[in-house]
């Protein structure tokens, strides 16, 4: 499989790119900061990626650059089969609430940018017979919480978009995988104390790779979050309010 993976140098994306490399995929890495790319490309190539791992500049906050980056990926891999978006921004609720510029940037990258990128890629892939799009939403988008609803809102919107994308294009051979991680121990969450059921990036990556192969649309990772969110989604709003959710 030929995969363009956004965010392959860090955290979740690094773990996922490794698993893809180890099954022999050809990889291309559109990314915002190329500084780490050389090291990550060496890592992926040593682990079995097919051919050299190329890269192009891509900033989820700058949609103007998307067509160029997708063209570069198509050239490097002789047409990509799949797009994986692990990149995104994260900040604590207090930080976002205090700084509207930061909030706007987060919403723009996590929702607007990711949606535009996936939509453009979907059109391309569907036109040539299908493929796969995989993006990372979050359990934080399943139910609003007072302490995390700004980040959660960006991911809730993305999840709805991805579900729609799957409905629209599945008949044309394009599948969409929506990953909803719970807390995963990566650099992104370094400032937070890990709660119970915190996941390791490599275990989540294994689940995602399995879903990319077997046709599921929605992945909760670690898997226990499917059950937890089933309960939490079913709770009446009044209960959540009482529980200071």
């Amino acid at each position: 499989v030929k995969v363009a993976i956004v965010g392959a140098t860090r955290g979740m994306g690094r773990a996922l790119a490794r698993r893809l490399a180890e099954r022999g995929d050809a990889l291309f890495a559109p990314l915002r900061e190329p500084a780490e790319l050389t090291l990550s490309a060496q890592d992926l190539e040593a682990r079995g990626a097919a051919g050299a791992v190329g890269h192009a500049h891509l900033d989820l906050g700058q949609p103007d650059g998307f067509p160029g980056a997708l063209d570069a990926a198509d050239r490097a891999l002789a047409r990509v089969d799949a797009l994986v978006v692990t990149g995104g921004l994260f900040a604590r609720q207090e930080e976002l609430a205090a700084d509207s510029g930061r909030l706007a940037a987060l919403l723009h990258a996590n929702f607007t940018g990711t949606v535009l990128l996936c939509q453009q890629t979907a059109e391309r892939l569907a036109a040539r017979g299908g493929g796969l799009i995989c993006a990372f939403a979050s359990v934080a988008g399943d139910r609003a919480r007072r302490s995390n609803y700004l980040y959660g809102a960006s991911k809730a919107g993305l999840a709805v978009f991805l579900e729609g994308l799957d409905h629209k294009f599945r008949a044309q051979g394009l599948r969409t995988v929506c990953v909803k991680p719970g807390f995963v121990k990566t650099g992104m969450t370094a400032d937070l104390a890990p709660p119970p059921f915190a996941g390791e990036p490599d275990a989540v990556a294994r689940q995602v790779v399995a879903a990319m192969t077997d046709g599921r649309h929605e992945v909760y990772a670690p898997g226990i979050w499917r059950a937890i969110m089933l309960v939490i989604r079913a709770l009446p709003r009044a209960v959540l309010r009482r529980a200071q959710f």
Partner: protein
């Protein structure tokens, strides 16, 4: 619902400090832990201790003072290159042996030296100059390292190796991370035909038989080790099971398939009465008795051969909240079997030891100044932490070790006194001189270096 759900979904902003302890869970320090994806020294000259996966038992990777900085390498774990012709692997220091095994065993390569757990980083393998069941033949980890890249205290990146900045290299191998932050390592992996091992085991009735068995096996077997019942006394001192192994050929392994790895976790701290002397005595006896004295031969996976304890996640919790003190020493061959017997006898009388002790013959020492192994016999065992009694016992054992020219292993140690350590390590002054040149301000500092080397706290 309230509290529980709140904690589940809303991780509270992290308190700046975390508890930081070694695998023995004693002592416990408090520190600020950074886990960068790319290793570098933080700005400013604040003292720090490098840390890997936290498998050193004592205080080797515990911050030097409350609130001290810890740089954990585990997220800096990228492979830089691998040469399938020579087996040369260049990687970041946070790469674990578990990951090396996962990626490279299917390709027919194996770490040249491995300790009893695979959950260690390559950087830590260098810093502790770890040894394994093949020490009698191959030496310790440092012998397979071709190049290290360090961030030194002055902020420079320095490359060193056996043929370049040799003194810094010899001080870093076995130097417990106190000469600089190890960023990159180049080492040589060994060729194997597959993931299987030929294992032979034989019951041994006494210490003399065990030592003789190790000596005779050493000539023909790359991996040897003995498990001994450290509660046996009198004529039975040192009785146990001799194990020797080698990588199986494809013909020997046949068409076996690797079992799904079985893994269980210890979910909570066990109560202290669990590992009581009576239980341990019978556990040890049963283990020795169940094997008998016959010679047995079978084919096992490398995981079962090298890492039996890794199958039980968090096994250190079996020792309860106060944790354990692991004791490992080596006694020179010249001293003969006598001091080994004295140590075992003393442990049996104190009834302090728990699960089986590990005994192994070591080959010649390396050139690295603070490397632990030396030609002779090494003994390793777990002591449940019972406070002052246990510490007193260790000082007592140390006295015997010092008297006979042996030494203890810093990767396991939590209590050895500085004067004892200085007597055990004849090359300590040479190491200090190199460290003085590269880190006069003691930027790299740990609870252990404060305790054993007299660094400022």
């Amino acid at each position: 619902v309230d509290g529980a759900v709140e904690r589940l979904i809303a991780p509270a902003p992290e308190p700046a400090l975390e508890d930081v302890a070694g695998w023995g869970r004693y002592p416990v320090g408090r520190g600020r832990v950074e886990r960068p994806e790319h290793l570098d020294l933080p700005a400013g000259g604040e003292p720090l201790v490098p840390r890997g996966l936290g498998r050193a038992y004592g205080d080797a990777a515990v911050p030097y003072a409350p609130g001290g900085l810890v740089v954990e390498s585990t997220r800096a774990d990228r492979i830089r290159s691998f040469d399938p012709a020579s087996g040369r692997l260049h990687c970041e220091a946070g790469l674990s042996l578990a990951e090396i095994l996962r990626v490279f065993v299917p390709r027919g390569w194996f770490p040249p030296v491995t300790p009893g757990t695979k959950f260690v980083t390559v950087g830590a393998c260098v810093a502790c100059d770890v040894h394994g069941k093949n020490h009698h033949r191959d030496g310790s980890f440092g012998a397979f390292v071709e190049r290290l890249s360090l961030c030194t205290a002055d902020g420079r990146r320095v490359e060193c190796g056996p043929d370049r900045e040799r003194e810094l290299f010899l001080a870093t191998v076995g130097g417990m991370g106190l000469t600089g932050l190890i960023v990159d390592v180049t080492l040589r992996l060994g060729r194997i035909e597959g993931p299987w091992m030929v294992l032979e085991t034989q019951g041994m009735p006494s210490l003399d038989a065990m030592l003789e068995g190790l000596r005779l096996s050493a000539a023909h077997w790359p991996y040897t080790v003995g498990w001994i019942d450290c509660l046996a006394r009198g004529a039975s001192v040192g009785r146990g099971i001799l194990m020797r192994g080698r990588h199986a050929t494809q013909v020997e392994a046949g068409l076996r398939r690797l079992p799904r790895s079985r893994h269980i976790d210890v979910p909570f701290d066990a109560p202290e009465w669990l590992l009581n002397p009576l239980f341990m005595r019978w556990f040890n006896r049963l283990y020795a008795w169940s094997h008998g004295t016959a010679l047995r031969r079978r084919i096992v996976s490398h995981d079962a051969f090298f890492y039996p304890l890794d199958a039980v996640g968090g096994w250190n919790r079996l020792y309860g909240r106060r944790g354990l003190l692991q004791y490992q020493c080596v006694l020179p061959r010249a001293a003969g079997p006598r001091p080994v017997a004295i140590l075992l006898e003393r442990l049996a009388v104190a009834g302090a030891a728990s699960f089986l002790a590990v005994i192994k013959d070591c080959g010649p020492a390396s050139d690295a100044y603070l490397s632990f192994p030396m030609e002779g016999t090494t003994l390793a065992l777990d002591l449940p932490n019972r406070g002052a009694v246990t510490e007193a016992l260790i000082h007592d054992l140390n006295a015997t070790v010092v008297e006979h020219g042996g030494r203890v292993y810093l990767a396991k140690d939590a209590v050895t006194r500085p004067e004892d350590f200085a007597r055990m390590m004849p090359r300590l002054p040479e190491w200090r001189a190199v460290r003085d040149r590269w880190d006069p301000q003691r930027r790299f500092r740990s609870a252990q270096s404060v305790r054993v080397l007299g660094d400022p706290a």
